[in-house]
């Protein structure tokens, strides 16, 4: 088998770029939570890299891109289980769509998408998930929700792909999917204590901008890499991605200004991410005008959509619904208007293709949103009933960092008093045990009194 070394090199580099997005997301989210929960948030994102990397190579890759099971386009078979048969081409990529990269490169590129998708969910459920049950959720969710939707949309043998629905880099598979799942899990576990009355401002806005910058950077691998080659299509996707993101950044801060406030840095970062989300499904199907409109529309619509959670009383803590769900839907549907075969795919409504592409996009949006929401709800509910998905009230009050991970992010402030650990005033390590025993004593005494 002869592969194109330029294409292969670009997709290997893109895979690394997409991996870099998950730490970026961790900081994007981590800056937005309160300082007592920042490590909890970072940990959820990092552990997802660990879990999905393993699950993907053994199981979910073959479920997503394996030979179609029964020809129904629902799920792949176990043909590539544990990365078996890597000398065979990826099913469905034939003719003009034949891959020019080794299948193993495709495996690792797609792995990074499977990694970031469940990581996105953690924004909805910020500050209130137990760690162990979350790990279990990610394993099951990757198998039951991510793999089927990836098969439907990304694999040429999937039913939505065959229907003619277009998703260049994961508007449905990644963003609508994660958005719907985030809203579902947030519904199951309920709102943070004190929300929305108690102020919960971001503890580190520079982190949010740092994370948004890492996302923007990595997203070039996500979108331009989805051309699966280093060519004109990937160049189009690259330019569209940057243009839409820039337009969305401006759109969001414009909304802030028009609504009578000031343009904020958090708004600029949020707008950029909204633009990246919206252009993701479209970047290889639309031209520069299309990308500009999609990006600008995403900045405006998502800036308005984030207030919906207050009306719905649904604590989507970091606006995964408002940014990823709404932005993903917007991008997926606008392909139906702005799609042009001059770039890739088929013509949409504005380029003489009629309404059929829009209709296919609509079906893909509804199918992926509905499946993801319902299945994520069920999985979360079962885990909640059996293991308990939500942290206890006192842990939530204390913060996830110390309560769940025995660490705190920031070691300044009361540093002069740090050495005093209660009994005897000694700061040595063993006093930690003494302190715990003392707490147990206190609990016992409290029990006696009760």
């Amino acid at each position: 088998m002869h592969y194109n070394s330029g294409d292969t090199a670009w997709i290997l580099a893109s895979s690394a770029l997409v991996l870099f997005m998950t730490p970026g997301l961790a900081f994007f989210y981590g800056g937005m939570v309160r300082s007592k929960n920042v490590l909890g948030m970072l940990m959820q994102n990092y552990v997802v890299i660990g879990i999905v990397s393993i699950v993907w190579v053994f199981l979910t890759y073959t479920l997503s891109f394996g030979t179609d099971w029964g020809g129904s386009g629902i799920i792949g078979t176990l043909h590539f289980f544990g990365l078996a048969h890597m000398n065979q081409t990826v099913p469905g990529y034939t003719g003009a769509a034949a891959q020019t990269i080794p299948p193993l490169v495709f495996v690792v590129f797609q792995m990074m998408f499977a990694v970031i998708t469940p990581a996105l969910i953690t924004g909805s459920t910020a500050d209130r998930l137990r760690f162990g049950p979350f790990v279990v959720f990610v394993v099951i969710w990757s198998i039951v929700v991510y793999a089927p939707i990836a098969h439907w949309v990304f694999s040429p043998t999937g039913w939505l792909f065959k229907l003619g629905a277009e998703d260049f880099a994961g508007g449905t598979v990644v963003h609508i999917n994660a958005g719907a799942a985030g809203l579902a899990v947030a519904t199951v576990i309920g709102k943070r204590r004190g929300w929305p009355k108690e102020p919960m401002p971001p503890h580190n806005v520079p982190f949010v901008l740092l994370g948004a910058g890492m996302l923007w950077f990595g997203w070039f691998g996500f979108n331009a890499g989805s051309a699966l080659g280093a060519n004109v299509l990937s160049a189009n996707a690259f330019v569209n991605t940057n243009t839409a993101t820039a337009a969305a950044l401006l759109g969001w801060i414009l909304v802030e200004k028009i609504k009578g406030g000031k343009s904020t840095t958090l708004g600029a970062a949020s707008g950029a991410v909204a633009g990246l989300v919206a252009i993701t499904p479209a970047c290889g199907f639309v031209n520069l005008e299309g990308a500009t409109v999609i990006g600008f529309a995403a900045g405006i619509v998502c800036a308005l959509a984030i207030s919906l959670k207050f009306k719905l009383g649904l604590d989507d803590a970091l606006d995964v619904g408002g940014v990823h769900f709404v932005g993903g839907i917007l991008g997926a549907l606008l392909i139906g208007l702005f799609g042009t075969s001059a770039i890739g795919g088929v013509n949409g409504l504005f380029y003489g293709g009629g309404a059929s592409l829009l209709f296919h996009q609509f079906i893909a949006v509804v199918a992926s949103a509905l499946y993801s929401f319902v299945m994520s709800y069920i999985i979360a509910k079962i885990i909640d009933k059996t293991m308990g998905l939500r942290i206890k009230d006192d842990e939530e009050l204390e913060g996830m960092d110390t309560a769940l991970h025995a660490e705190s992010a920031y070691e300044f402030g009361s540093s002069l008093l740090r050495g005093f650990s209660g009994a005897g005033g000694g700061g040595h390590i063993s006093s930690r045990v003494d302190l715990n025993e003392e707490i147990v004593e206190v609990h016992k005494k409290a029990g006696e009194i009760n």
């Binding site: 102020p199 401002p201 406030g261 904020t264 958090l266 984030i306």
Partner: protein, 112 residues
């Protein structure tokens, strides 16, 4: 002896310290405090959600001085801390019963 306590705007610390040094005051204690007076807090907006912060960060300066120097030093502090804008702070003076220098056990004005 008198204890002078001044609540000032944080960026005025350097001016006040210079004024006190000129007035031959040899030490001071500074703490970061938060509070509000006529200057209420400010509004912060994050993704459209408005948060009213009611406490404004200030610095609290404490110095102990001799009885006869107290009022002059108060004037020096007030002049140095003044910006003529709301939120400049407050200065107050209270009597001190006793003062001890820990190292030498000197008492009263000798411990200043």
């Amino acid at each position: 002896m008198k204890l002078i306590t001044a609540i000032i705007k944080p960026f005025k610390l350097e001016d006040v310290r210079n004024a006190l040094t000129k007035a031959d005051i040899k030490g001071m204690t500074v703490s970061e405090v938060q509070g509000y007076g006529r200057q209420s807090g400010h509004t912060e907006v994050y993704r459209g959600a408005e948060y009213q912060t009611s406490f404004v960060p200030k610095l609290k300066i404490e110095v102990v001085v001799s009885d006869d120097a107290a009022l002059d030093i108060v004037d020096e502090i007030v002049a140095a801390a003044k910006t003529d804008k709301i939120g400049d702070g407050k200065v107050w003076v209270v009597n001190v019963e006793e003062l001890v220098r820990v190292r030498t056990n000197e008492r009263g004005n000798d411990a200043l």
